[in-house]
């Protein structure tokens, strides 16, 4: 993968709640043992609440929202997934306490993923 990619980042600076599309590096991603090249995420009501002000669901900033995503595994430290596996991620508080799918790459806990069949 290229080291730089695009993600929507929310941040809280004092009273201000910021939403920006930024170019970030892979090292910015901090959770999980599987790296996924994201194809699609979705906009759910919960996402809209989080994009507004974090909705008290996001505990740490800066944060990448997006409560679900689909894509392809590009790196895996888990035996359950290998490069090229197509996956779907929903739930487990991804996009809330873990970085989510509004990003061209996402790192996620392999225990959260479902393989597409």
């Amino acid at each position: 993968m290229s080291d730089n990619f695009k993600a929507l980042i929310v941040n809280q600076e004092g009273e201000k709640f910021l939403r920006e599309i930024k170019t970030i590096e892979k090292s910015f991603l901090k959770h999980g043992d599987v790296l996924v090249k994201v194809d699609y995420s979705t906009l759910n009501f919960k996402d809209a609440l989080i994009l507004k002000n974090g909705a008290r669901l996001v505990k740490e900033f800066p944060h990448i929202p997006g409560i679900d995503f689909s894509g392809t595994v590009v790196e895996s430290k888990s035996e359950k997934f290998k490069e090229g596996d197509e996956i779907i991620q929903t739930g487990w508080r991804v996009g809330e306490i873990y970085f989510g799918g509004y990003s061209q790459f996402a790192k996620v806990n392999s225990n959260f993923l479902v393989k597409k069949t």
């Binding site: 599309i21 759910n44 994009l51």
Partner: protein
């Protein structure tokens, strides 16, 4: 990703409203059901699934999209506004079960309109997080309020649900309600959603 979290939530709601009650009541059929927030992501998929399961679906919506909801299988369309008022403790029993995606007064009214032993699967708060109801639907009619979340569902159950939902959804039809947006457009659309100005599914193409 046409289904995503909304699809995972909708299939759980539909199974709860229809199949769970049928199991509890030893096969007594669930026929008449209502789906609130029917034009939304979860609501529209729930209308489609429950119709496919053979239910007679009433769709409650604020949007003028009767034709679309009928194409998903809804038999009757009602205005959500008619339910958005203080609920009577018990009202005319109209439905064997319900899927509520909005909460608030609408959910309270649904609880009062459900027939004995009906299950109301609640999964949303777009109308309000408050629920001003009484014990009456629960103790007089045995109505069950069943919370649905899409966060803490085991992988085993997720795999099962994805399998089931893909059998029950007409993807060509669903696709018509899907809007594909970029991350940049997302920054505009999310606030419209909070204002109740969106309908259908929004898919975010992060590479667009």
């Amino acid at each position: 990703m046409m289904l995503g979290t909304a699809g995972m939530t909708a299939i759980q709601c539909a199974f709860t409203t229809k199949q769970t009650r049928e199991v509890l009541l030893l096969g007594e059929k669930v026929n008449d059901v209502i789906v609130t927030g029917a034009s939304g992501g979860v609501g529209s998929i729930a209308v489609m699934i429950l119709s496919k399961m053979g239910c007679n679906v009433t769709a409650a919506t604020t949007k003028p999209n009767e034709e679309y909801l009928k194409s998903l299988g809804a038999k009757t369309i009602i205005k959500s506004g008619d339910l958005d008022k203080e609920a009577r403790p018990l009202d005319k029993g109209l439905y064997d079960g319900a899927v509520d995606t909005v909460g608030g007064n609408i959910l309270a009214n649904i609880l009062s309109h459900v027939k004995p032993n009906g299950i109301v699967a609640a999964c949303g708060n777009a109308s309000s997080i408050k629920l001003n109801t009484t014990v009456m639907p629960f103790i007089i009619r045995g109505v069950k309020l069943w919370g649905i979340d899409s966060v803490s569902v085991s992988i085993k159950r997720r795999e099962f649900l994805w399998d089931e939902v893909s059998k029950l959804v007409d993807f060509d039809l669903l696709e018509k309600s899907i809007k594909e947006i970029s991350l940049e457009q997302l920054l505009v659309e999310y606030s419209k959603m909070l204002e109740g100005k969106t309908s259908g599914r929004y898919i975010v193409n992060v590479n667009k």
